[in-house]
Amino acid sequence: MTGHGGGNVAKKDSFLPKLISRGSDQKPVGSTKIWDPAACISPVVQALPPSGIRKFFDLVSQTEGVISLGIGEPDFVTPWHIREASVYYLEKGHTSYTSNWGMPELREEIARYLYRRFNLDYAPENEILVTVGVSEAVDLAFRTVLNPGDEVLIPEPCFVSYRPCAILAGGVPVGVPTRAEDEFRLTADALRAALTPRSKVLVLAFPSNPTGAVMRQEDLEPIAQVVNEHNLLVISDEIYAELTYEGQHVSIASLEGMFDRTLVMNGFSKAFAMTGWRLGYTAGPKPIIEAMCKIHQYAIMCAPTQAQRAGIEALRRGEPEMQKMIRSYDQRRRMMLRGFRSLGLNCFEPQGAFYMFPSIQQTGLTSEEFAERLLMEEKVAVVPGSAFGQVGEGFIRCCYAAAPRDIEEALERIRCFVSRLL
């Protein structure tokens, strides 16, 4: 009897010559074409612009002693009870797949939460899909509903992924400008001006990253009217909903006639400080959610089990800690707003998310120049507004999810920088 080792060697021996001979067979037969991996990449992907933030990220990473106001996530670690719950189930060996839709308990908690907080009534069995962050939900939605050439209306400045995701799904992104004069709210007029017969989807992402703008009920109503008149579907990215500081967040899905034409998207990243868990969900009309689940089951299977366990805990017992974090953001919001206004920079009062979007037009620099020079000269990182669409030019995004003393120091450094320019 020969051991395993002998068998393996024999196998290897018979395998190797075959491989070599196959290679040498092919050479004379094949044409003179050279294999170029880059040539494999589809023209659509080749034409996608790289994220405007990437270059800046490298620059900041190479600089020492930087205070960063350029981070788009909470400065809190996930509350301990949520981490502990996830670890508990990990220890118990809950490491298998879950239902494609997400764990039933989690979907039930999500349904209760959406009803409790936003007066939205979804059936956990087939109107809620648990996803890998809102990012996946947005991608699924585009792939589910877009035909080649369908137009996606995207109010800008906005988060960086809507445009590329729409393009990848065969759609055509159409920017709808929002303006500082309107506190970066979407207006019905601006929306109407962008409509064409091919308009199919409106992306609504409020509270907004990067502007911090919110849409109140009275702002949403005229938008809902346009949406109804023109038979649009709304993809409502409400990831910052809990981070609304004046009054309560209103979901457009709760407006009359909008429930059936809205996909509500939300998640755990911002409200519960759970960015790295990659857990989100979407809720909407059953036929669309079911179709989205079809793609999701082939592409993703299910959201990570550990994250789903953490999500259940967050929704069941996480609200007191969440409220504490929100109060803390609100305090820092006021602090930073006062700071920017005392610098003489125009800044509207953002009422949601954790960003401030001051204008830097009076310095005469482009937003990219401003951000680069501020980094080099004063070691403060902010994100140029142009990274969020052309209409973001002339603004910078500053995140106030940073330690109060860092915010103070950063404002002082920005003061020095700006005073040299004005």
Binding site: S51, D75, A381
Partner: protein, 159 residues
């Protein structure tokens, strides 16, 4: 007012102007409220939380369970007062359960604390008995973890 107290409890060094900015109040109003809170002994002091172990220690700490026979009319108050007057006594709490007062004492060394308990505490009238526990290590105090090794793992710039 509660929000002002919460901010101060987190950071005793926070300036009234900063409180005003964060809570959207007038700085003069914040200063007035602070004076009032101090006057009414709601705010009793502003202290620094020190991890003495990092600089070679600062003596020993002991918690002592004290069983007391309450006095007619004044209950535990008189005994508690006799105990908390001693400067080496850092805290005194009236407790439910198997003992009555929980006393924290700081001293140069174990011997000093032990003598204090034997001579001053145990001998007090109405004190029935004591149990002394020495603190070996402080992990967390007043909500602050002493050796917190949770860093900021976030990337420097994210969308």
């Amino acid at each position: 007012m509660r929000e002002i107290l919460e901010l101060l409890e987190q950071d005793g060094r926070i300036r009234p102007e900063e409180i005003a900015v964060r809570l959207d109040l007038d700085p003069g109003e914040v200063k007035r409220v602070l004076r009032q809170l101090e006057k009414e002994k709601v705010v009793l002091g502003y202290k620094t939380l020190v991890n003495w172990d990092r600089v070679g220690g600062n003596g020993v700490t002991a918690v002592i369970e004290v069983r007391v026979i309450p006095e007619r009319e004044v209950g535990f108050e008189k005994v508690a007062e006799r105990i908390y007057r001693f400067p080496q006594v850092k805290s005194v709490y009236l407790m439910s359960g198997t003992y009555d007062l929980l006393v924290t004492i700081e001293g140069k060394n174990m011997k000093e604390v032990a003598f204090f308990v034997a001579e001053k505490l145990a001998t007090l009238e109405h004190v029935q008995g004591t149990t002394t526990h020495f603190v070996l290590k402080k992990y967390k105090q007043d909500g602050v973890i002493f050796e917190n090794n949770e860093e900021d793992f976030r990337l420097v710039v994210t969308p």
